[in-house]
Amino acid sequence: MKTFKYIWRNVTRNWIRSSLTILSVGVSLGLMTLLYGFIASQDEWGKEAKKNNRIVVMNVQGFSGQLPIASVDTVRGMQGVDAAVPYSWYGGKYQNKEMPFAQFATDPNEVFNVWPEFTISEEELKAFKENRQGCVVDRRLLAKWGWKVGDRIPLQGTFYPFDLDLQIVGAFDSPQNTDSIWFSWSYLDEGLKQKNFARTGNSGTIFARVGSAEVMPAVIKAIDDRFESSDSPTRSQTEAAFAQMFVDMLGNVRSYIQSIAIAVVFSLSLVTANSMAMSMRERVTEIAVLKAIGFSRLRVLSMILGESMVVTFIGACIGFLIGCMWLQLLNSAIPQYFPFKPAEMIGPWMLTTFVAAAGIGLVSGLIPALKAAQLSVVDGLRRIG
C-alpha cells in the first residue's frame, strides 16, 4: 500500500547511493552464487553418480597403477555384474591444445551397456563397433567444436607414445555434458604395441554396471578379494564414492570458499548498514516529523528495515543473475570443473543467496532503524533550528 510507495521513493531518492549499494550487494552476492553453485555442482555430481549402479575398479596405487585387460573379463564374469568395460584416460592434445576435452579408450561393444542412460542411434552404434578408428562424441562437444559425423580428429599422445587418428562415427546424448569422446581401446593398445611401449594391455580403470544398488557392496568386496593376491590388486568403489573422491580432494577449497562467503556476507552487512546510516543521518528531521505526526516506533522501524531489504533484495536478484550467468559461462568454457548448467541444479543453495540477502537487509537496516525509532522527536526537530 502507501507505505511501500514511500519506501520505494526513499530507495530512489538518492539514486547514486542506492545503485552503488545495490551494485556492491549484487557483485558480492554474484560471487556467492558462483561459489555456492560450484559447491552445489560438486554435490550434484555425487548425487548423479548415485543413480546409476556403477562400480569403478582401479589399481590400489590409484590411476597410475595398471589393470591388465584380462581383468575386465574377470569382472564381467562376476556375479551381479551386468556389463564391464576398460576405461582409460588418453589425455591427448588436439590442435596443439592440452586436453581440450576428455578422451577415453573403451570397449565399443559394451560401453553403452555400462552407460545405458546415454543414447545413440542404432546405425551410429553399429558404425562405432565396426570402425576400428571410429569414435563417438558427446553431442554438446560436437556442437562446441562444430564437428560433423565423418570428420577426422587427430590426437597427439602426451604420455602415450602413440598418436590417434580418429573419425567421428556418431554422437551420443547424455544427461549432463560429459565433454568426452569415446574410442576403441584396442585401437590404442595395438598402436602402443607397435611402438614397443612398456605397458601395453592396460585397461586403466574398469567401469562395471551392477544389477541393483543392494548388491553393490557385495560385488565390490568380491572384486577386491578376487584380485587381492594378484599382481595388480584393485580398489573398487561405487561411482558415487569415486566422484566423492574428486570432491574430497577439493576439501580445503570448500571450507576456504565457505569462509570467503562468510566474509562477503559480513562486509556486505557493513556496506549496506553504512549506506542506510548515511541516509538516516540526512533524514533525521523527516523522521522526527513522521513521529510528530503520530507514526509509531514500530512503523518507523519497519519502514527503514523495509528500505534496506528492498535494496538488498534488488541486489540479490542482480547478484543471482550475475552468478548464474557466470556459471553458465563456465559451464560452456570449462565443463570439467562446472559440469552443470545453473538450470540443472536448482536447489536449496539458490535459496541461500536470497536468505543471505534478506539477512543482510535485516541486519544492516536494524541499527539505523532502531536509532530512528529511538530518535527523540524534539531533538530531531531542533536539528533544523
Binding site: 521513493r9 507514526f295 509509531s296 526537530l381
Partner: protein
C-alpha cells in the same frame, strides 16, 4: 492571566508545568511553573525572546515531550501518563503540526504528503482521497497536488503543510513560527488561512511567532520570558 472565566471545560490545561534540560551535570531550567488554559476555538499566539522556551512549551502541548513537573491535560487526558506508543497514537488523532521550515517529505507529492497522517487511520483509499482533496481545497492548492515540494514556493509548501496538519481534523493545531521563513505577502496568506481555520472551522490554534503583526491576528497573545508566562512584555521592544 487568562481573561475571564471559562464558559466550558478547557481542552488544553497546563498546570504548574516546569521543564528543565539536563546537560552533563547541571540542569538548565527552561519553563518555570507555567499555567495555561485553552478553550475550543481559541487562537493563542505565543511570543517571547529567543531561547525563552516557546518551542519547549509548544512541544509539551503537542505531546512531543514531557514536563519535568506539573501536568499537561488535553481533552482531560493527562499526557504525562501516556506511553511513548500511546502518545504517538494520540498525536495522530489530536494534533496537527505546522513548522517554520514546512518539513514536507521531499520524495512525496503534495497529495501524498497530506495523505501521510491518514495512512495511520483505518480510512479507505477513497475516503482518504476525499479528505486530502478537501484539505488541499481549503488551503487553495487542489491544482498542485501532484507537485513535489521542491516544485512549490515556500508559501505554497507551507500551505501544503497546513493541509497536512488539518487533514485528520485534529483537536489542536500547533504552529512554530509558521511565517518565520516567508516574505510578507506569503506570510499574510498563511495568516489569513490560519485565521479562517479558526473562525470558519473552529480550530484551536497555538502559534509561536516573533512577529507582532502575526500575533495581532490571534484572539489573544501571551508572552514567555525566561520560562515564565507574563501577560505583557516587561520590555517595550515588542510594541506595535
Amino acid at each position: 492571566m487568562s481573561s475571564g472565566l471559562p464558559s466550558s471545560d478547557p481542552i488544553v490545561e497546563v498546570i504548574n508545568v516546569s521543564k528543565e534540560f539536563r546537560r552533563d551535570q547541571n540542569s538548565i531550567p527552561v519553563l518555570n511553573n507555567v499555567n495555561l488554559q485553552l478553550f475550543r476555538g481559541d487562537y493563542l499566539s505565543l511570543m517571547g525572546p529567543s531561547g525563552s522556551g516557546k518551542t519547549t512549551l509548544l512541544n509539551l502541548l503537542a505531546g512531543l515531550d514531557r514536563p519535568t513537573s506539573g501536568k499537561v491535560l488535553v481533552c482531560g487526558e493527562d499526557l504525562g501518563v501516556l506511553s511513548e506508543g500511546a502518545l504517538a497514537k494520540w498525536r495522530s488523532r489530536h494534533v496537527g503540526f505546522i513548522f517554520q521550515l514546512y518539513n514536507l517529505i521531499p520524495v512525496l507529492t503534495a497529495f501524498e504528503n497530506v495523505e501521510l497522517p491518514l495512512t495511520l487511520t483505518s480510512l479507505s483509499r477513497k475516503e482518504r482521497k476525499e479528505h486530502v482533496t478537501t484539505a488541499l481545497e481549503v488551503v487553495g492548492l487542489a491544482d498542485r497536488m501532484d507537485h513535489f515540494p521542491r516544485q512549490l514556493s515556500g508559501g505554497q509548501e507551507q500551505r501544503v503543510a497546513i493541509a497536512r496538519a488539518i487533514v485528520t481534523d485534529p483537536t489542536l493545531l500547533v504552529a512554530d513560527e509558521p511565517t518565520g521563513d516567508l516574505d510578507a505577502k506569503s506570510a499574510g496568506e498563511i495568516l489569513d488561512l490560519m485565521q479562517r481555520l479558526n473562525s470558519d472551522f473552529q480550530k484551536t490554534i497555538v502559534m509561536v511567532t516573533h512577529d507582532p503583526n502575526a500575533a495581532a491576528r490571534a484572539k489573544r497573545t501571551v508572552h514567555l520570558e525566561k520560562g515564565v508566562l507574563v501577560a505583557e512584555p516587561t520590555s517595550v521592544s515588542h510594541s506595535k
